[in-house]
Symmetry: C2
């Protein structure tokens, strides 16, 4: 029987409330406190905890009330993007193990502050990048670690998700995307695609990202959407959004690998994380869910690949990651199980008091891409340097998190 | 009955000899002369013309012999990359309508020289970019011209073709790719993917490409391939190729569109031109051959697109380009018909003595990407400016080529 972990949840919008469902489905987790700026969200969360778990959590609009609770061992931060890092810093300083939802950084300095808070307190901080635990991503990671793809040379990823409705209705929904799109132009959401790739390329553990360039397209998608859905007279119908519809970023790594990231959230499209991994012996591509292995497919007619679309499912038996082999997520597991897995990895780390599988250096390295892409775009695509948040320790850092949920090695 | 066109072909390697098959299949074209540096290639070509057409063409290793022939009205240049532009210039100066195979430029200056030769002589020059006449590309062009995709915001293309065998055996094959890969690092083959996109974005006719950034991955694919196919002792087994395996380029256009190009020719993979076109009302993606239209698919579950893979074929009835609607290429048509169509477009232009559908300004704008990507890569991804080869006339140039083969408007 596992020991209980007492937690608080800070931020109960769509994402925080969704996480609450997954968390209360995980054995041994007790939600002792909930926090949100809005009372109705606090009430909704309290009611849900009461119904589902039987206890009544503390309810507050000031997250510091939660950090002051002795019994709370860990906190989950699912606030708006701009609050992730400073709340995480305060949590570490209060001695609370902290799990932070995904997003991008607003400055390089706040990333350094995050690192310093960790190095000063020694309290672990994990980014809850659920896509690192996606079945496709983990299967490819497994293949890479086994050497099936050879030496990895190039990866691609995207956050290609039509969010026009959510963005445009940000005022009614109290969602922060709208004000970001009105004011900023950057890859504002790099980690879903970059996280799994960074693990594949051993970023922060033998490799690092050196520099990037970014360019943004014009912004047209939201205006067209608004005029169609809200009418020509809607106040934002002709608003000149700062955020380009498609932002493309190229990253160069210390060992010569390139990574292409595409953020594409305000045009009509199907969902895709545009995941591509290419090595000297094979490749994976998400958009037709296929694996090409030189040994298996090298002699096939190069122009007739279509018959192999979706063949990754056939290779699952052989290459599925151990985490997924016997895992059957239920309907509360969130995003097909990724949420349950990343939260379980977090709670496992808290329980064992070990460095989490996605640590504070990963978090800083991945989140800083947002601020750097903003810089590069604003300077016409000029290359900008990516900081080494490990101050040189990336060269020989050993895998941090051992065990079942490790993303650095496959057990 | 169409009038005869007498032509010469300069360069009879794999591509030139292949084109000869397609050309002799087109009515009214008489091959009066062939040229290659190698005698065996000359002999092979002469023999093929004799067998197929009944006449014996002049055979030479000096292309100027062909340019001096009064009866030759037009020449096809299918030499090695480095000879395309200077032969095209000499051809224009000799008054020969010239069709040039694809490739990239080695300097910006040679692109300007090409432009000057055209402006001084008034002799038309066409780039034979067959992919502009690909069925998928033309169908998407047709949809774009009809407004089905809305305002176009972002496009992607790639030359993603495993050429390791051809590159590595460049000495035996007398192919120029090998020496290029040994010495240069750039997107050496941008036009298959860029050509169709440039036509979609009205480049040189109301739009232009402003600047680009490029980054290259490390070079590992050829070494791994050589060691496996030729053994560890092969002289190039540990050669440090200059050419990175994957080169990614982002281009920004005057009207705010972005274009991402990927050259990926020395890793194991399936063939793809990675064609993506995204507008405010819909998109096309080659890698699962699907079309997403907001009006048709906007209400579908965003995470279950797989059922629509390959739906572009279902929409063909409605959106197929007029050129393809009643076209049934035979086995000599080359690359599924694209070669036949681009050559037919060229001969149509020669016959009517009009500006070709892919003119000298297109050729310079597309080919210069190679030299500029080399510059950007060498400077760590720094943005470089793309010249305006029209000297401002792009702003209000009318569609040039009218009629059946036009790529600027759909009849």
């Amino acid at each position: 029987m596992k020991s209980e972990i007492k937690i608080g949840i800070i931020g109960l919008g769509g994402r925080g409330y969704g996480l609450l469902h997954t968390i209360l489905n995980i054995e041994g987790i007790v939600v002792k406190a909930v926090c949100d700026n809005y009372e109705d969200r606090q009430e909704r969360a309290v009611k849900f905890v009461e119904e589902k778990a039987g206890n009544t959590p503390l309810s507050t609009s000031d997250y510091k009330d939660i950090l002051a609770m002795d019994e709370v061992e860990a906190v989950i931060v699912s606030s708006s993007w701009a609050d992730h890092i400073h709340i995480a810093i305060d949590a570490m300083k209060a001695g609370k193990y902290v799990g932070v939802e995904v997003g991008g950084a607003y400055s390089i300095d706040e990333c350094w502050e995050l690192i310093r808070a960790y190095e000063e307190t020694g309290v672990p901080c994990m980014m809850l990048e659920n896509c690192c635990y996606g079945r496709k991503e983990l299967m490819v990671l497994n293949m890479v670690k086994k050497g099936i793809m050879g030496e990895i040379v190039h990866c691609e990823g995207g956050y290609r998700h039509d969010l026009r409705d959510e963005i445009v209705h940000g005022r009614e929904n109290r969602h922060y995307r709208l004000i970001n799109y009105m004011n900023r132009n950057c890859d504002n959401y790099p980690t879903h695609q970059l996280g799994p790739i960074a693990k594949i390329l051993n970023v922060n553990r033998g490799n690092r990202m050196l520099s990037l360039v970014s360019m943004a397209s014009k912004a047209r998608g939201l205006n067209e959407f608004i005029k169609k859905s809200e009418g020509e007279d809607y106040d934002l119908a002709d608003y000149q959004f700062a955020q380009g519809d498609v932002v493309t970023t190229i990253i160069k790594c210390a060992h010569g690998e390139t990574i292409t990231l595409t953020m594409d959230t305000s045009l009509p499209r199907f969902y895709s994380r545009g995941f591509v991994v290419q090595g000297t012996k094979g490749m994976y591509q998400e958009d037709n869910h296929s694996i090409f292995l030189d040994e298996l497919h090298g002699t096939e007619d190069e122009f007739s690949w279509k018959k192999n679309w979706n063949n990754a499912d056939e290779l699952r038996e052989e290459y599925d990651h151990p985490i997924w082999k016997n895992y059957n997520p239920d309907e509360n597991a969130g995003h097909g199980g990724m949420d349950d897995l990343v939260l379980s990895a977090f709670f496992d780390s808290v329980r064992r008091n070990v460095i989490p599988p996605i640590d504070v250096y990963d978090m800083a390295a991945w989140m800083c891409i947002t601020a750097l892409s903003e810089q590069s775009i604003s300077m016409g695509g000029a290359p900008v340097a990516i900081p080494d948040f490990t101050n040189g320790r990336w060269i020989n850092r050993e895998p941090g998190h051992e065990g079942y949920f490790s993303l650095d090695k496959v057990e």
